[in-house]
């Protein structure tokens, strides 16, 4: 089906055309409904999880920022936020630095056991989290990493690595080798070539891989519950406890904040993708 209805379309085609669009609209609504629901609820003036009659009547007093205030003043949530902010960047740094090196290595033309190596590196994304969590729980306990900051960081870095590998490898596949050859033939030494030519070109892939790794750690709850202890209680963990224990709308306020962060990160990725395409578009061949 084309995106415009031709003027000669039959009634059947017309019904089909509009019916299909309505169907797609409903599916998009299904995709967005949960996000659209929690944002207004997070401004609920009462400690309930449902829309109050006042909210439906758009009475100003039915709305309040008190759950946001609670998030920013409650020590538990603040500690959780601090933990998340301490853990995610460190895990991202590890995943990105190791992952980028390995992706460059994998993009070389003669790599022995490339398939096996690739399979191992992608596996943290494939192996069910509960299994990774269980294995790490037992193993990290044995070596004394369970319940430590570094235990959680290492675990999260491992989970983030597939994303870095995938995105960086993807940019390297589209990488035009003649650029580095040109740099070399113009007298640049290999190090200069890497930092001046290759790095700027794969940087968008590195950054978006890093963002994925970051969000993986920032959003991860299963592994941290098993590998971490009270000292590493992160935001998602606190939310998980909250959902099972006291269901307070503060969770919805946190959720809204996280959605806003997602939108920001998503915009960054989109901008990077465009920039990457533009840069590649400039390269000859």
């Amino acid at each position: 089906m084309d995106h415009k209805l031709p003027p000669y379309a039959t009634t059947g085609q017309r019904i089909w055309f509009y019916g299909f669009r309505v169907l797609c609209g409903l599916i998009f609504f299904f995709l967005m409904a949960p996000i659209l629901t929690i944002i207004p609820l997070s401004f609920n003036a009462e400690d309930f999880f449902t829309f109050t009659p006042g909210m439906l009547a758009f009475e100003p007093e039915a709305y309040s920022l008190k759950h946001y205030v609670d998030f920013f003043t409650n020590p538990d949530w603040q500690q959780a936020l601090r933990n998340s902010v301490l853990i995610a960047p460190m895990a991202t740094l590890l995943a990105v630095s190791l992952g980028t090196l390995a992706a460059i290595g994998l993009s070389q033309s003669h790599v022995p056991f490339k398939g096996t190596i690739m399979a191992i590196m992608i596996s943290p994304m494939i192996v069910p989290l509960i299994i990774s969590a269980a294995g790490m729980y037992f193993f990290y306990s044995r070596v004394g990493l369970q319940g430590t900051y570094w235990g959680v960081v290492l675990a999260h870095a491992a989970l983030g690595i597939p994303f870095v590998i995938i995105t960086v490898t993807a940019t390297l596949v589209g990488f035009d080798r003649s650029l580095t050859r040109a740099a070399a033939s113009l007298g640049a030494n290999p190090v200069t070539t890497f930092f001046r030519i290759q790095m700027p070109l794969i940087l968008p892939g590195v950054i978006s891989g890093g963002l994925f790794a970051f969000i993986t750690s920032f959003d991860e709850v299963v592994v941290v519950i098993f590998v971490g202890s009270a000292g590493q209680q992160t935001l998602p963990w606190q939310m998980f406890t909250g959902l099972r224990e006291q269901i307070s709308p503060t969770i919805l306020a946190v959720a809204t904040i996280l959605v806003v962060i997602s939108i920001l990160l998503l915009s960054v990725v989109e901008i990077l993708r465009r920039r990457s395409e533009r840069l590649r578009g400039m390269s000859p061949g």
Partner: protein, 571 residues
Amino acid sequence: MTDAATGNIGRAAADARRAEAEQTGPVMAADGRPLKQSLNRALRAQKLRALALIAPLLLFLLVTFVAPIFDMLFRSVENQITSETLPRTVVALEDWDAQDLPSQDTFAALAYDFMEAAERRIHTRLGSRLNYETTGISSTFRRSGRGIDDLGETQAEQFIDLNPQWEDPAAWVALMAAPDWIAAQADWAARADAADAADRPFDEAEPAFRLAGGIAATLPETADAYRSFATTIQQEDEDSPTAEEPWNTVYLALYRDLLRQPAATIAAYDGPQAALVQEAAGVAAGFEATDLPAFFIDMDDGWGDLKTWETIQTFSDPYTAGYFLAALDLQLTPQGIEMQPEEQQIYLMLFWRTIVLSLTIMGLCVLLGYPIAYLLSNLPMRTSNLLLILVLLPFWTSLLVRTSAWKVLLQQQGVINDTLVWLGLVADDARLALINNQVGTVIAMTHILLPFMILPLYSVMKTIPPSYVRAAKSLGATNSTAFWRVYFPQSVPGIGAGCILVFILSIGYYITPELVGGRTGIFISNRIAFHISDSLNWGLAAALGSILLILVLALYWLYDRLVGIDNVKLG
């Protein structure tokens, strides 16, 4: 740098091959070596460089991720606990035929094992382990742990009545310990006293107990029981054998030795305390005996039950398939492998349910994802990019956020039910049960996994040239024929990739079923988590995890074959 080199070498290699074909003599590189050799070296160096770049990450993953997984696999078959906790009993049971209760000797072995295990407080761990196989063993072990130190008291009293020396720790040490240990211990004690007198800290441990050379030949069980006593109190309580009266089981061992060893062996003993031993040997036959099986059965009936012994015998190997069998609703009995009693069968059903629900979710994802992907790939770039954000935003939103949103939406007093009641579609007292059951799990997980279906589908559909469908239509195909015969077959690889991805992610889900699944909507993962943190049956958790892992890896392999892991795209 590397790429420039690669390119040059690649081209050079091709040139060289051509050159080689034309000329007969070896071609020389600029440095005068044969070109072939030089090229091979360059290739090797290149491989090494690539590996050097990959190695740090590979090592990192091996340690932080692969090793834990293997550790878990190992745990699912590991069973050293029986032979470590009851070493003598396991040996004694090797030839037991499971017809009658084991012999007095086996009970004696159990007595020595159990005494040490109880002192080390590890007997209940074995009890819990064996209780997974046969109910009631846990309590048998726990109760026996409380009564075991009375076993041999009768003998102890009689020996002490005979000669009070038997009560003296020093007399026992003189009889049992190696002379050089006695000297080393005395030296250690002197240093401890000196430190104490000078108010200095002294944290050196007492030298580890060593048995005298000849005693085991004369009094084998006593020597064994005494060594068990001495090392246990040294390690567990930081006590010294020189200051503690032996356990009653040591007296029991002594009594048994004196009765069972040939009189000549005892008479021939001329080591330290020979007179004491020979005095006792003369009268031990007249001592009051203890019926060991009766004593144990008196502590707990379980010891009179052949099933208890069979279980110990069956699970005495250091490795066991027991957990894997349990994970498949089977059990290992002395008669072989049998099904679990019906009211305890749960895992096959849970695996089956996990697969069925995952297939349902996968199917729904295809149904909902296909139209969206189709629409996106047929709209102009600008519009489709905008709509794509509606797909990516949920994808990028925290899993917990989305799950909690579904909780809000699906509750009986939640948004959906409220809306339905308001619209008059549902009566207020007949609100739909959309959460805490399979419906909740399926709805929430379909939503969460839908982007994983749309994105691969979209990337495949974008590559299908619209001209094919147009060509079909111009040749007279109807819209539906053109779609089903021309467009759809070309989109099948996208469906395959999306399906496998969604299915793989779905069968391992834990958080969402836990929060919205209730009683019937939970997956096998929830059971694994339960066994890790609640029931503490880690072996079973590991076995269930291993089976799930094998399932996922098989699918992963299939995905790699069909799609190629290099082709996974994100966003």
